[in-house]
């Protein structure tokens, strides 16, 4: 059944119609807690040049079907909540403009490589656990808060910031892990998100946890299960380039950088 947005239907033609264009939004629906059924619901929604996939999904929720399950917060590619498959490609719903998709139909599905919670919402436990495992914080003996000297800062030169700043842009959206072919096969694989963050902290000259982290990722389902597919970097909306982080990390383990 195709549900038409009120702004587009004739019976409500007295409402101000600002949109001239519309698309068919196909949303994959499922609720594994209840049963294993999967289906696509179709909605016709108005779009403007600036309408994002998230805008349209929220439009559907507001006017056509309140029950569509989505996760979002910032609407500006900062919180990492709204990753999904849009016309087969992974992206943030809030960072994908419908006008740029160049298609009359927009199909949205939950990300692969994660268990579905409901509809477009997936469970991030695996990513969060692997992220925690690599100790994503500066490790060192002393602290910025010191009983004797009070509060001080660990200073860092702009040159040393450059070494990791790109990797610190990760918003934990999980798109990279969803695109990764090893993640699809190996349920114990640590994944590109965590590996990129291992590099981010090791490359930070305030951090002294390099050996600890290298040990964690140097195991049978760690860094070596990456086979350079590079799909993680292709889908990353923040330009983190996890694949490069992984190669740089390998350099430490192969003894060709220190």
């Amino acid at each position: 059944m195709v549900t038409i947005h009120p702004k587009l239907s004739n019976e409500l033609s007295q409402t101000v119609v600002s949109s001239t264009k519309s698309v068919k939004l196909k949303i994959k629906r499922s609720n594994p807690n209840v049963n294993s059924d999967e289906k696509f619901d179709e909605f016709v929604v108005p779009i403007e040049k600036w309408t994002t996939v998230l805008d349209s999904l929220l439009d559907v929720k507001s006017y056509l079907d309140h029950s569509v399950g989505i996760r979002y917060s910032c609407r500006q590619a900062s919180c990492g909540s709204c990753g999904m498959k849009i016309n087969g490609k992974l992206g943030l719903a809030c960072f994908t403009k419908i006008s740029e998709l160049d298609s009359d139909t927009v199909t949205v599905e939950p990300m692969d490589n994660y268990p579905v919670v409901r509809d477009l919402v997936v469970n991030f436990d695996r990513m969060i656990n692997n992220h925690k495992k690599i100790m994503p914080y500066v490790i060192r003996e002393d602290s910025e808060i010191d009983a004797e000297s009070g509060v001080r800062e660990f200073l860092q030169s702009p040159k040393n910031v450059e070494k990791y700043i790109q990797f610190s842009n990760c918003i934990k959206c999980g798109l990279c892990n969803s695109a990764c072919p090893t993640m699809a096969m190996d349920k114990s694989f640590v994944g590109p998100q965590a590996l990129a963050q291992a590099y981010r902290y090791i490359a930070d000259d305030r951090d002294k946890g390099k050996n600890k982290r290298l040990k964690i990722i140097d195991e049978s389902h760690g860094i070596w299960r990456c086979h350079f597919a590079g799909s993680c970097s292709q889908v990353c909306p923040k330009g983190v380039d996890p694949a490069m982080g992984i190669q740089l990390l390998r350099g430490y383990l192969l003894g060709i950088r220190d």
């Binding site: 190996d186 349920k187 195991e219 070596w224 192969l254």
Partner: protein, 117 residues
Amino acid sequence: MMVLRESIIMKIHYGTAIGALFLTVIHIMMRLTQDFHESLQYENVIANYESVGYALLLELLLILISVHGFNGLRVILLEMNQGPTYEKVVTYGCLAAMAGLITYGSRTIIMTSMGMV
């Protein structure tokens, strides 16, 4: 399960790959020391085995490719399925198969080079 650190295993994997590539090139070049067809005739093949240098090259190639190949198989199998028991079976199974192939191949190389066939 930890027999060796994974980075050490992968260094061995890349090392054996490069070594095998290099020795395979020599192995193929040896076919060109005479007419290719001729080089594969029974007497010539046996004569090759009987030369100590060439027998050593074959032995080394056997070891490198067995180590690389069975570790490669281990990697593939580890990604196909997971679990501590499965991983143990895969690791020791690959090691056993590796040792088995090296033993059997060495037997052929040694027996042939000693004129026992």
